[in-house]
């Protein structure tokens, strides 16, 4: 049983992985691949490594926040 605020959600083991969670995993995967691609392009072709490193940090932090929120939303969809 997962608890969220005053709402109780009963999750069947069979429904544990739902479409929402599949999508959440896919988005996370895209984030990770995107990060690798962006970083590879910046560090290879850009002449400002410090800026590239800064951008990669901002990108990753944004991804972590969005991914965490997405997983929360995906979990709700398991109802």
């Amino acid at each position: 049983m997962w608890h969220n605020g005053d709402m109780h959600i009963v999750v069947s083991p069979l429904l544990l992985v739902t479409i929402g969670q599949y999508v959440a995993f896919a988005v996370m995967f895209c984030f990770a691949i995107g990060g690798i691609i962006f970083a590879s392009q910046w560090f290879r072709h850009d002449d400002n490594s410090a800026l590239s490193f800064g951008m990669l940090t901002i990108y990753t932090l944004g991804c972590v926040v969005l991914a965490a929120k997405l997983f929360t939303a995906a979990s709700f969809l398991t109802i």
Binding site: W42, M55, G62
Partner: protein, 406 residues
């Protein structure tokens, strides 16, 4: 610093450009507006469903909103990538463009500035004027054109392109005039040398009566040197482009020892006058190579031996030839000024003087070793130098593929 530009040796960047930062800011503002939609939807949902709690609807909207924000987040960084990586460089010779059509499609183009016909700049619109950016259209001589869009300070860039274009034009003109002068001078010098050669030849052959043996010997040497000079000038006259680099070869098998010995004999009096010992060590076996013996003798061996004498104040110069299984090696060792590690890389380059070489040898043109390298390479060989540094003397080696005469 080349600022990330793919440059040729000696090329320098005049302007390194990318689109004005405000063009990326427009996108960010657009994405921020699009990113506000989910919050608006969220607000409307709360307002319309006041009192009612429908988790499925609420969480579906939340889920879709985050997917939307994810998309915008990645898109922002995608456009940041394109913005950062698209570059234009105006160098003193070329316009180099780096274009990105997507994350992986990188196209680098290079345009010679000498092919430019004219350049136009335009800055239309309130935002363009406010932030000071615009487009530059470069029209080439064949009427094709290339446009640099959203460039900051386009007038400044246009001025740099025009200045570079003008400088290249002037350099071409100067090179053409220099070439004409060189050919004219070479032609005149050839005339004088040829007349000298004729007179010396007459003296040596006894047209002016019997002469003493020492005088005949001197005249003979002078005739040999003059003929070599005529040959050199003829070489220059027979070339169209870079006289020093051009090599016309008349290849035949010959024994390199004979040519090296001839040079050593010719240079020996000069070395002796300077108080130097010029020694020749030769392999007892024939040192046969395939090549142009006159070019090899005059442009390579003579150059190396004369250099050794010119750059040695006291001591000795040793010249040698030996043969191995696959190559014939000629070496010139001296006890002269030596070569500093800094000078070593530019030794065989065009016009490549050592830092203090002209103090020792004011007649140095900086083309001798470059020309020698061209000749050696045209023979499929290698030329290199070794030195432990300034004041330690130098060793020059020439290796040419051997012809097996067994």
């Amino acid at each position: 610093m080349n600022d990330g530009a793919p440059l040729f040796e000696g090329e320098s960047v005049l302007c390194a450009l990318r689109k004005h930062g405000v063009t990326f800011a427009y996108r960010v503002i657009g994405f921020a507006v699009l990113g506000a939609f989910p919050f608006l939807a969220w607000f409307l949902l709360h307002t319309s469903l006041s009192g009612a709690d429908i988790p499925l609807v609420r969480n579906t909207v939340l889920f879709a909103s985050i997917i939307w924000l994810c998309f915008l987040w990645v898109a922002t960084f995608y456009f940041w990538t394109i913005y950062r990586l698209e570059r234009w460089f105006v160098t003193d010779r070329r316009l180099v463009t780096i274009e990105h059509a997507g994350l992986f499609a990188r196209t680098v183009k290079s345009f010679a500035l000498e092919d430019i016909d004219h350049v136009e700049t335009s800055s239309a619109g309130a935002l363009h004027s406010m932030f000071g950016y615009g487009d530059i259209e470069i029209i080439w001589k064949d009427n094709s054109y290339y446009t640099l869009t959203d460039i900051p300070a386009p007038e400044r860039v246009e001025a740099a392109i025009q200045e570079s274009h003008l400088r290249m034009h002037n350099m071409e003109e100067a090179a053409r005039k220099q070439q004409e002068t060189l050919r004219l001078v070479a032609h005149e010098v050839k005339g004088h040398l040829a007349r000298n050669a004729a007179v010396l030849s007459s003296i040596v052959s006894g047209d002016f009566g019997e002469i003493s043996a020492p005088l005949k010997d001197i005249a003979d040497r002078a005739l040999t040197g003059t003929k070599a000079g005529v040959g050199e000038v003829m070489d220059i006259l027979s070339t169209e482009g870079d006289a020093a680099a051009h090599v016309n070869l008349n290849k035949e098998p010959f024994d390199l020892r004979i040519e090296v010995r001839a040079i050593v004999e010719r240079e020996k009096p000069i070395a002796q006058d300077k108080g130097l010992t010029l020694e020749f060590i030769e392999d007892p076996r024939p040192c046969i190579i395939m090549g142009d013996k006159q070019t090899m003798r005059e442009r390579v061996i003579r150059n190396l031996v004369e250099n050794a004498i010119n750059y040695t104040q006291q001591g000795s110069v040793t010249v040698g030839v030996s043969t191995a299984e696959t190559s014939v090696v000629c070496w010139v060792h001296d006890t002269g000024v030596g070569i500093s590690p800094k000078d070593m890389p530019r030794l065989f380059t065009q016009g490549g003087h050592g830092e203090h070489s002209q103090e020792v040898n004011p007649n140095s043109t900086g083309f001798g070793l470059f020309a020698a390298k061209q000749v050696v390479q045209a023979h499929g060989g290698e030329i290199w130098a070794e030195s432990d540094g300034v004041g330690t003397g130098a060793k020059f080696f020439v290796a040419i593929p051997a012809v097996n005469n067994a």
